[in-house]
Amino acid sequence: MTTLHLLSQSPFTSPLDSILRPLGVRDGLLLCGDACHALQPGSAPLELLEHLPASIAIHALEEDLQARNLTAPERVQVVDYPDFVELCTRYDKVNGWL
């Protein structure tokens, strides 16, 4: 059963480690809110994300990237709300890391 993991906390305030630990190889990540700061070039969280298995799809919510003036690297797919809903249907379940 695959899981889509929603992340919204800043990776600098809530370290990603314990969130990435239960990640399965067919799971997906959706970064929203301050979790998008994990895409800050040159930061440790981005390094962590880039070392995830390629089978784990990483997405980021467009509006949160725009608000923060962030650009998603190639590895990351930018999504809007309709895409977000579609993602939820594609994975077997959704886990919101509060």
């Binding site: 630990r21 239960p22 399965g24 509060l98």
Partner: protein
């Protein structure tokens, strides 16, 4: 057939309502005879320490509610070994018989359940 639910409890016992409100979801699920699993992660592992005295901070005893879990049919208890280790607690006796998991075992746990709620 009822869907199974994994509840991930990440809050320490005396830092507010987080631990209690996660536990309440587990107990309510048990009361409805749903298959419930409970994973103690991050500071949530502090809920499992023996010898706590919540009365010192005028709190109700969360341990009593935790002990009630089996009566509600909630017997699948898990704890993240890495969370214990980071807190200097690995190998210490726990107040509840929770299965310690690490690495891929955690991913397998998430995989097994139909639903997951993290609090």
């Amino acid at each position: 057939m009822a869907k199974s639910m994994l509840i991930v409890s990440r809050h320490s016992p005396w830092s507010g309502l987080g631990a209690r409100e996660a536990l309440d979801i587990a107990l309510a699920g048990g009361a409805f005879e749903l298959p419930i699993g409970l994973l103690f992660l991050d500071d949530g592992v502090f809920q499992l320490l023996p010898g706590q005295r919540p009365a010192a901070v005028e709190q109700k005893d969360l341990a009593a509610n935790l002990q009630a879990l089996p009566l509600f049919g909630v017997e699948d208890l898990y704890v993240c070994r890495q969370s214990l280790r980071l807190r200097g607690l690995d190998g210490q006796p726990l107040a509840l018989p929770a299965t310690a998991l690490e690495g891929p075992e955690l991913a397998d746990l998430f995989d097994r359940y139909d639903l997951v709620i993290t609090l």
